[in-house]
């Protein structure tokens, strides 16, 4: 049943009963409880921030309650008063919801629900990100549990979309249809996604962890080299010397962009398919155990690999692999690799001669690629700045159902790819897409500029990356139409990528021409600028990174692009790539080319430079906030203690409704949860059996007196031992007492954790 054909009011929880997978239902209920706890001041700001981030609930510009109008900052008086959803983050302030789309694969039903959600809770726009996610903006946190339920009912989760967790697992959008891949990486990306989702070994990171799959080494689609863990499909002859081959992967580790880009190192030249999941798990354990936690600027795995060296990192991974408890899931999925298959629904047929819709030829040339399956092609939808409306998304769901059974893949270039299209259907498909405003040519070309959100919505944005990208798209399109310099064949396939700051969410390092936002002072005022980055390599999975050449005022960047492109058109040697050209002429020459653009007029001479693209306010960096990309560094023990507090809270609710037995059970569960949280500081493999937890707690924290309160001694520990021996009760009075004891036990656990941290800090 479609979510939109409802016939009576209820809550979304009631409406979707039985349609949300139980584990997600429980997970969303927990988040809803945490929201209630936060409203009552019963959960710490920092813990709640990381909690919501791990559900994809992200902050947005102006959520600190301030907005700079160009001359002064004004307070935004949100109705919630002092209530916050994280440090300096006002409860009522609109935020962003990041929705994980593993390897970018969406079906028709999912597209329809995303369209519904964009209309009802957001601004009618679904935004495709550079990591194949979908983002909705201007979302109120109170709406997020219902949004999550509606997504979960169609198989989508936001769990671990942000925060210090394993982010969306990306993959080449041509996986399964590419002519150059040895095999389809989709089922492996799918398996790794769900294996690591919520995995206990991936919960204690100092920063995020990004994984990408690629079907081949030579193309850019997977961008394996710039990821924390990059996985590239390989086949090799089997060791028994027969002609048979076996599937496997080359695995890279420690790549990443950000302010300091690192090329990934080879962790394994070849791992068999059944070795991939345990290897990833072992990497997570090493990262969780040894990765930086305090200094967020150096907490990504790339810094750990650089610090230890790839040989030592590999040795540590091997060590972990040797002690990993066996897990059936490592290979169970190999029994059915068809789980991600998308079969064509129309017969294969070649494109026959005949009449064509206007614009078809250009679109065909730029947006359509042949598949390895004869008679089928993949057609890209060139989305401006990665945006499409709810109406377009819904129409696209219908279109894809007609032509390929209702499947699309989001791409890292912020486009959408329709695969398994019969060649013969292309004119009709184009006509439909054109009607929907989705038939723009130029996908993956110069005009297809990608950008992060920048100052539009990101708290860290310094310059308007989307504003600049939009302006560049317009000018490049005009230049192509009027056969200007940007229409030249030589520059057609160059990539332009824009980030609003040095953090590189726009992937500027791997563009031919990249930009990232900075600011410069002049005439006592601030002027938005972009640093020009040249020489990055998009192909070969982001094979090399570009370097900064010169900072140019934001408003003069289009002119800079025309000059750089013009120089390449006129001075390149036969067959010379853009990277080779830049390397040959040298960055000094480019700097000279753009030198006059860097000279700043006074404010009175030219005010236009003192504002940014798409924003008439006088430019200021007064709206910069604290970013949430890094999440809050909340340790596993803090999370565990927070979960224990949630159990107690639910116990109180049970008590309120007179369910003494359930309340007592919650109190017991809360104490176990808190004890287990402490144990994880010493033994990350602790299970969930009460007997094991109590035994370990007794050995590690009671016998050692680590848990003892300076004044009350063993008192609080004994609460756990007593209830462990006698968990059942029907007495309301007894249940009440146990709830109180559980609260005291958790407080004692917090204090114990604090003491341990202080000891560790002194030792460090």
């Amino acid at each position: 049943m479609s979510q939109s054909t409802v016939d009576s009011t209820a809550t979304w929880k009631e409406r979707l009963e039985g349609r949300v997978p139980p584990h997600l239902d429980e997970e969303i209920d927990i988040f809803e409880t945490q929201i209630a706890q936060k409203r009552q001041g019963k959960i710490d700001d920092k813990v709640f921030a990381e909690t919501r981030l791990r559900r994809g609930v992200y902050g947005q510009r102006y959520d600190n309650g301030q907005r700079h109008d160009g001359t002064a900052s004004q307070a935004l008086e949100y109705p919630c008063g002092d209530l916050t959803k994280g440090p300096n983050t006002v409860w009522d302030a609109p935020g962003m919801l990041r929705i994980k789309i593993p390897f970018g694969a969406m079906n028709g039903e999912q597209m329809e629900v995303l369209a519904d959600l964009a209309e009802e809770y957001s601004d009618g726009i679904a935004h495709v990100t550079t990591r194949q996610d979908i983002q909705l903006h201007f979302i109120h946190i109170d709406d997020t549990p219902d949004i999550m339920r509606r997504l979960a009912a169609v198989g989508i989760t936001t769990q671990e979309a942000c925060g210090n967790s394993v982010r969306n697992v990306t993959a080449c959008p041509m996986a399964g249809v590419c002519r150059d891949e040895p095999f389809d990486v989709s089922p492996y990306a799918h398996a790794l996604t769900y294996f690591l989702l919520g995995h206990k070994d991936a919960q204690d990171f100092g920063r995020k962890f990004k994984i990408a799959f690629s079907g081949c080494e030579q193309h850019a689609c997977g961008l394996a080299n710039m990821h924390d863990l990059g996985v590239v499909a390989q086949v090799r002859s089997t060791s028994n010397g027969t002609t048979n081959t076996e599937r496997g992967f080359r695995v890279y580790v420690g790549g990443g962009l950000g302010a300091v880009p690192h090329q990934a190192k080879v962790l394994r030249k070849f791992v068999r398919e059944d070795e991939l999941l345990p290897l990833a798990q072992a990497v997570c354990r090493v990262f969780g155990r040894l990765g930086e936690k305090r200094n967020r600027a150096r907490a990504r795995v790339k810094f750990l690999v650089a610090k230890l060296g790839i040989e030592e990192f590999t040795r540590l991974v091997d060590e972990e692999l040797a002690i990993l408890p066996p897990d059936d899931r490592w290979s169970a999925y190999l029994g059915d690799l068809s789980v991600t298959d998308e079969e064509p629904t129309r017969p294969a047929a070649t494109l026959s001669p005949g009449s064509r819709p206007e614009g078809f030829g250009e679109w065909l040339g730029s947006n359509v690629q042949r598949q390895r399956q004869p008679g089928y092609v993949a057609a890209a939808i060139n989305l401006p700045l990665g945006d499409l409306t709810s109406t377009q998304l819904r129409a696209l769901a219908d279109t894809t159902r007609r032509y390929n059974g209702g499947h699309v893949r989001n791409t890292v270039e912020q486009n959408i790819l329709l695969r398994n299209i019969s060649e013969a259907d292309l004119p009709a498909l184009y006509a439909e897409l054109h009607e929907q405003g989705l038939g723009e040519p130029g996908a993956s070309s110069l005009v297809d500029v990608t950008a992060c959100p920048g100052t539009d919505t990101c708290k860290l944005g310094i310059s308007a990356s989307r504003g600049l990208a939009g302006e560049l798209r317009k000018r490049i399109a005009t230049s192509i139409r009027t056969t200007g310099v940007l229409a030249d064949e030589a520059v057609k396939d160059l990539r332009i990528k824009v980030s609003g700051c040095f953090n590189s969410c726009g992937q500027h390092h791997v563009a031919d021409i990249g930009f990232y936002g900075i600011s410069r002072k002049s005439d006592g005022r601030t002027i938005p600028h972009f640093q020009v980055i040249l020489g990055g390599q998009w192909t070969e999975n982001a094979g090399s990174y570009g370097l900064a050449v010169v900072a140019v005022p934001a408003k003069r960047i289009p002119e800079a692009v025309e000059r750089i492109a013009g120089l390449f058109v006129t001075e390149r040697e036969k067959g010379e790539s853009f990277q080779s050209f830049i390397a040959r002429i040298g960055k000094a020459r480019v700097r000279q080319l753009l030198d006059d653009l860097t000279k700043l007029p006074t404010y009175l001479e030219d005010r236009t430079l003192y504002s940014d693209w798409g924003d008439p306010r006088e430019y200021t960096i007064g709206d910069l906030g604290v970013g949430e990309c890094a999440g809050e560094v909340v340790t596993a023990v803090e999370f565990g203690l927070s979960a224990a507090e949630r159990e107690v809270f639910q116990g109180l609710l049970e008590l309120d409704r007179g369910a003494a037995d359930a309340a007592a059970e919650k109190a017991y569960a809360a104490m176990l949860q808190a004890a287990r949280a402490l144990i994880t500081t010493e033994n990350i493999d602790i299970g969930t059996a009460p007997e094991e937890i109590v035994g370990e707690f007794r050995t590690r924290f009671y016998d050692t007196e680590l848990f003892f309160d300076p004044y009350a001694g063993a008192k609080f520990a004994n609460y756990l031992f007593r209830v462990h021996g006698d968990a059942q009760t029907d007495s309301g009075e007894e249940a009440h007492r146990r709830i109180e004891e559980a609260q005291l036990f958790i407080e004692a656990a917090h204090a114990c954790n604090q003491r341990i941290s202080e000891i560790q800090a002194r030792v460090a």
Binding site: G124, I125, T391, P616
Partner: protein, 193 residues
């Protein structure tokens, strides 16, 4: 049956109301960017205004938005029909306090949307190049929890007619015609004119 009471509709807060532009648009959506920024800076509306979002690059999209806490205002381009879209999300502001019935809510929606239209039409930066036809309106229920059946449509249409009359929106001496549009799977939408 028109006018039948459906109490749950009294609790429905999320509505979209679009006032279509009169005649051919002589203004580009981007021109609303500085206008809406100034509305925030000068606090031209008695509600919390937060941000401006530009989607003018999207085909028949929401155009340029002024995002507030209680509502989003947009120079909206959907279906190729420019207009002022008022999309209510919350009712926390002082002037929305105490609204507890569908009739009151519809009156309030019309008031807020028309007030924004007035401001835009008087906007110096747009020098009279945009006008709105207050007889060509689209009212949409923006909450799929609420029924979109015929009974609801009739009830909503009845209440909408009453609100229009009270707001002075008439077709000569007669009430304006209100009809349901769109596919069943779409949100319940009524249109006048």
């Amino acid at each position: 049956m028109e006018g039948a009471q459906l109490p749950e509709l009294d609790t429905l807060v999320k509505f979209d109301l679009k006032v279509l532009a009169a005649g051919a648009a002589e203004v580009e959506a981007e021109e609303f960017i500085p206008v809406f920024h100034r509305w925030i800076t000068e606090r031209l509306l008695p509600e919390l205004l937060i941000d401006v979002a530009d989607y003018s690059h999207v085909h028949e999209g929401p155009g340029v938005l002024l995002v507030g806490h209680d509502a989003i205002y947009a120079y909206d381009l959907s279906r190729g029909e420019p207009g002022l879209l008022y999309s209510r999300r919350h009712e926390s502001g002082a002037e929305l306090e105490g609204i507890d019935s569908l009739d009151d809510r519809l009156k309030s929606l019309l008031y807020c949307a028309f007030r924004a239209c007035d401001l835009i039409e008087a906007e110096p930066q747009l020098d009279g190049r945009v006008a709105f036809d207050r007889h060509r309106l689209e009212l949409r229920v923006n909450d799929r929890l609420f029924p979109s059946d015929e009974q609801t449509a009739l009830t909503l249409a009845g209440a909408f007619r009453r609100a229009l009359v009270e707001a002075g929106v008439r077709d000569g001496d007669a009430p304006v015609e209100v009809k349901r549009i769109g596919e069943p799977r779409e949100r319940l939408t009524l249109r006048t004119g």
